[in-house]
Amino acid sequence: MSESTAYKVIGTRPIRHDGLDKVTGRAIYGADVQMVGLLYGKILRSPHAHARIRKIDTSRALALPGVKAVTTHQDLPSLDDKIADLGEAVVNMRYMSNNILAEGKVLYKGHAVAAVAATSPHIAEEALALIDVEYEVLPPVMDVLDAMNERAPLVLEDLKTSSIGQKGDRPSNVASHFQHKLGDPEKGFAEADVVIDREFHTATVHQGYIEPHNATALYSPDGHLTVWCSTQGAFAVRSQLAEILQMPIATVKVVPPALGGGFGGTMTY
């Protein structure tokens, strides 16, 4: 035996503590939370990259047997511009709320427009087809360089560029302009033997975890909300929920069950 066996940990092959539950299928992940009266949700998403929502009529969906609720942005509290620090990023809560369910405009293809809760996922899916949304299609902005053009269509019509502590005087697609400076780069370039100037483009990517995003929520008549969801940041989710739903944070509890991967991609929800 080598001397390393004298250590309690180094040189040993410990079995992970959650291993037994995971190899037997007993580990509870977010979508494994079961309860009596559980409803299933489906989300209606925008087919347009940029459009004004003229009207949403949910009445036909609500009339489908098994449908318990259909929500749109009108059901969420109206939030003023409130900048909140949620751990990983500083966000404007109004934009975050509008991203959960679009208000006024859809800003990308796939933007959530309405949500259905029903007694089965199949009924919820049928109900989506019964929601009538009237769009006024607007010219989209498909490229970051085009978006920076002064004549580009405005995505957020009230957004002004914040630039080193200053706000721009008119709306722009450029949300913020920041600089990192050290030394004298111009002098450095002038003295360099070789200067290489290139522009690189990559595709948008997202982490490839296997577990789909999920959440199960229990709202009690005493005003308390408990949410089980796939998240790497339970406290960030709690803060966001409290802000977006305008509930006292002490009434919101977020339970992170076993998480099916994330790699940073499920940091918030």
Binding site: E211, P212, L259
Partner: protein
């Protein structure tokens, strides 16, 4: 929608359930029978997280309808261990650290079980080829392959 009465043998137990004709076997296992060990990853046959053994054949339960289970024998991850002993595959997955987040693990173990049932002494290429229908994003596949080879040895040695 009216439901269909289905009888199947699940993990050795004669089982009856009611399901809608449009429900997948995965939905039935998870939402009707509460056997949530089979996971939904992609729900389109790519990831293998929902693997079960249907009459000796490895299938993605998301691509099988619940009504198709009529009269069939089904093995899920919940049926592998006995109350006092893990299946050698489960034990070797633990000892080889062949899992991290664990969401793909039930599918991999069930898939590997189907392989060892047919071929108790697979070569490494055979294991890799067989597990090509299962996706893992945390560990990489090497430790999983080693765990399966080691489990095959354990079964052979009666461990």
């Amino acid at each position: 929608m009216s439901r269909v009465h289905v009888q199947a043998r699940i993990n050795g137990e004669e089982t009856e359930f009611l399901c809608e004709p449009r429900q997948s076997l995965l939905e039935v296992l998870r939402d009707v029978l509460m056997l949530t060990g089979s996971k939904e990853g992609c729900n389109n046959g790519n990831c293998g997280a929902c693997n079960v053994i249907l009459d000796g054949r490895l299938v993605n339960s998301c691509l099988v309808l619940g009504v198709e289970a009529q009269g069939k024998d089904i093995q899920t991850i919940e049926g592998l261990a006995t109350p006092d002993r893990l299946h050698p595959l489960q034990q070797q997955f633990l000892e080889h650290a062949a899992l991290q987040c664990g969401i793909c693990t039930p599918g991999f173990i069930v898939a590997a079980k189907a392989l060892l049932d047919k071929n108790p002494h697979p070569t490494e290429p055979q294991v890799r080829h067989w597990l090509a229908g299962n996706l893992c994003r945390c560990t990489g596949y090497d430790k999983i392959v080693r765990a399966v080879l080691s489990a095959a040895d354990a079964v052979r040695d009666g461990r």
